[in-house]
């Protein structure tokens, strides 16, 4: 699904150049449930942006479902994002003047689906996430957990191959966090690739594969079998 080879990315800040990703190699198969961890400055957000085609890279290659993602113009990048990737953000990023249903339906709007049809589909997704009765409420009338469910419904509605979640539980209490993680797990069980960026170990431990970044390269990859060990290690830490 995702193949990254020798990925370099640096940001130019004035006369200084900040080398963030230093030849990163990464492969993620279809249907994996991956978390990316790392301290701040390790390059995890940068990696996520590149994975989400929100940012370009300097060197190396990134194949998404067999297609090279490089030097796309804005329009093409937008279309690819719409078609392939569902985003879930820490601060939900719902549009404040649209109700839950309209927020969920937004990606379909950019696919030129008719208003009636996309609102119907949006209601289905809200139903699946158990917040159908909130469909006509504005985001500021909902709790954090409800907002994140709306955001997840929005990420799912365009039937993307990959769900990219940037600290999806960062703004939630632990009970709600686990609920959200359960939802993401369910989505993964249905066969979607889910990638989350987090710095919380207990959240990362709920995924099937943990990629730890350090200084712009992968420090270690902890897979299924080793996960128990990781969990123990987290507990003792």
């Amino acid at each position: 699904m995702i193949q990254i080879k020798n990925l370099h990315k640096s940001y130019v800040m004035g006369s200084n150049s900040l080398h963030v990703l230093k030849g990163l190699d990464l492969e993620i198969e279809e249907g994996e449930f991956v978390s990316i961890m790392g301290s701040s400055g390790s390059g995890k957000s940068t990696l996520l942006n590149i994975l989400g085609i929100l940012d370009d890279y300097d060197q190396g290659s990134y194949y998404l479902s067999g297609r090279l993602m490089q030097g796309l113009n804005e329009t093409k990048a937008a279309l690819t994002r719409n078609e392939m990737i569902g985003f879930v953000f820490q601060s939900f990023n719902l549009i404040s003047f649209k109700n839950a249903m309209e927020n969920v339906a937004l990606p379909l709007y950019y696919q030129k689906v008719s208003r009636k049809k996309r609102n119907m589909i949006a209601l289905e997704y809200l139903d699946r996430l158990g917040i159908k009765e909130w469909a006509h409420h504005l985001p500021n009338e909902m709790s954090g957990g409800q907002k994140q469910r709306v955001a997840i419904a929005r990420a799912l509605i365009s039937k993307p191959k990959i769900i990219l979640a940037d600290e999806p539980t960062g703004a939630l209490d632990s009970a709600t966090s686990f609920e959200v993680m359960d939802i993401l797990k369910e989505i993964n069980d249905e066969g979607k690739t889910v990638i989350i960026v987090t710095h919380e170990h207990d959240i990362a431990a709920m995924t099937k594969k943990i990629i730890r970044l350090k200084d712009g390269v992968i420090e270690e990859v902890i897979k299924n079998g080793d996960l128990q060990l990781f969990k123990d290690r987290v507990r003792t830490e």
Binding site: N49, A78, L94, I95, S96, L106
Partner: protein
């Protein structure tokens, strides 16, 4: 692009900033309003002056004779110049600059008009049939002098409304005979023109006048319509050529204004209209200037709006909004604000001018507007269309910079913009 969602989004942002949108729109509305008021007033002034010219054909020219004031080709000054009938023939047939000619023979002394026991003294204008067109004589009953009257030396007369009132009271004047110094003339028409004081004028055929009042082939003045030229230079050139022709025929210096007087209305008309053209350009410059101030306001607000909505735009882009859809959103909002506000200004401005026009027309109808230099101060349809077009274009212009800024929003930066 023009679906419910776009409008819904635009209206929701406008609703969030009602006062701001209103103030922005107001500046545009004010610009258009002022433009309409200024253009309307300019038109009013122009129409008022045009009205003053409308007593006669605008291309009318008069020639009259006097005494020479300069020696010419060995001839002394102080020589009287006299037009003759063959001057009429020359002017009407040989001169390509001229369209129609009417000659006038001044009747000697004071002519006494009598009908039964009524009498009075009125102005008598002897003329050719063409004078009707030239001086826009308005016939209310009967007819004007015609060609047959001319060739047959008929004793017919067209009297002004006041003459009719004075001599005939309630009687129908048509076919009756009015005596001019005891010579009976048959009334064939009555002329009436509210705007002018020519109701005290009577018209008779110039040929008849010459014969009855011992004029032989003497002509005192000519009324002429010239070719409709576009520039003052051309009009002046026509005057000059006519002067030269007549100077050659009568042996006087073409520069001698006293020997032959001439007045070319067309040159004056073009000159006056040129002033109004300049006024119009000036008005447009001021109007457009005011409008630009409004547009800059709209542009400013849109920039702030884009800045405020950076995050939202970022979200949309992450979800698959293409740059063109973002541009469309901003442009459409800008065009909407300017068009709606501008149109409101247009309607208010035009309404006010139409209102003023209504009162002016009432004044003119009751005769109170005599001599007013202000008439029909309205803006014509094409100007309104042009203004609407300007609005839409200016809306697009106002939205252009903000829209480009919005399109350049990077999703990552926008989403990080906490």
């Amino acid at each position: 692009m023009f679906d419910v969602d776009v409008w819904q989004e635009i209206f929701s942002t406008i609703k969030k900033n009602k006062l701001r949108t209103f103030l922005t729109g107001f500046s545009v509305a004010w610009g258009i309003f002022m433009l309409m008021i200024l253009l309307g007033s300019g038109n009013g002034l122009q129409n008022g002056v045009k009205q003053q010219f409308s007593d006669n054909s605008v291309n009318i020219m008069w020639l009259w004779t006097g005494e020479t004031s300069m020696p010419y080709k060995g001839l002394k000054e102080g020589r009287p110049i006299k037009f003759k009938n063959d001057d009429y023939t020359f002017l009407s047939e040989k001169n390509e600059d001229l369209e129609q000619v009417s000659s006038r023979f001044y009747l000697p002394g004071n002519i006494l008009y009598t009908y039964k026991n009524e009498y009075g003294s009125f102005e008598t204008s002897s003329c050719h049939p063409a004078l009707k067109e030239m001086e826009k004589v308005n016939i209310v009953s009967g007819r004007f002098i015609n060609d047959l009257d001319m060739t047959d030396f008929r004793k017919v007369i067209v009297i002004g409304e006041n003459i009719r009132k004075a001599l005939f009271k309630d009687e129908d004047p048509m076919g009756k005979y009015v005596k001019l110094n005891n010579v009976p003339f048959k009334v064939v028409g009555v002329s009436y023109d509210k705007k002018r004081q020519n109701e005290r004028t009577a018209y008779i055929p110039v040929t008849t006048a010459q014969r009855i009042f011992n004029g032989a082939d003497r002509v005192h003045s000519f009324a002429i319509t010239t070719k409709m030229v576009k520039t003052v230079e051309e009009a002046d050139a026509i005057t000059e050529r006519v002067r030269q022709d007549m100077a050659l025929r009568h042996n006087f210096d073409p520069k001698d204004k006293r020997a032959m007087g001439s007045f070319n209305m067309l040159a004056e008309y073009i000159r006056t209209m040129k002033i109004f053209q300049a006024i119009k350009i000036f008005v447009w410059i001021i109007g457009i200037g005011t409008l630009i101030a409004g547009i800059v306001g709209v542009s400013n607000i849109m920039l702030i709006l884009v800045k405020e909505r950076t995050r939202e735009i970022g979200i949309r882009k992450a979800l698959g909004a293409t740059p063109s859809s973002v541009i469309g959103l901003v442009l459409l909002e800008s065009v909407l604000i300017t068009t709606v506000a501008g149109y409101a200004g247009l309607v208010v401005g035009v309404s006010i001018m139409e209102g003023i026009n209504y009162f002016l027309e009432q004044m003119f109808a009751s005769g109170a507007g005599e001599g007013m230099f202000f008439r029909n101060p309205t803006v014509d349809f094409s100007t309104a269309i042009a203004s609407t077009l300007i609005l839409v274009i200016s809306g697009a212009l106002a939205g252009y910079l903000p829209a480009r800024k919005a399109a350049n929003v990077k999703p990552i930066e926008a989403l990080r913009d906490e």
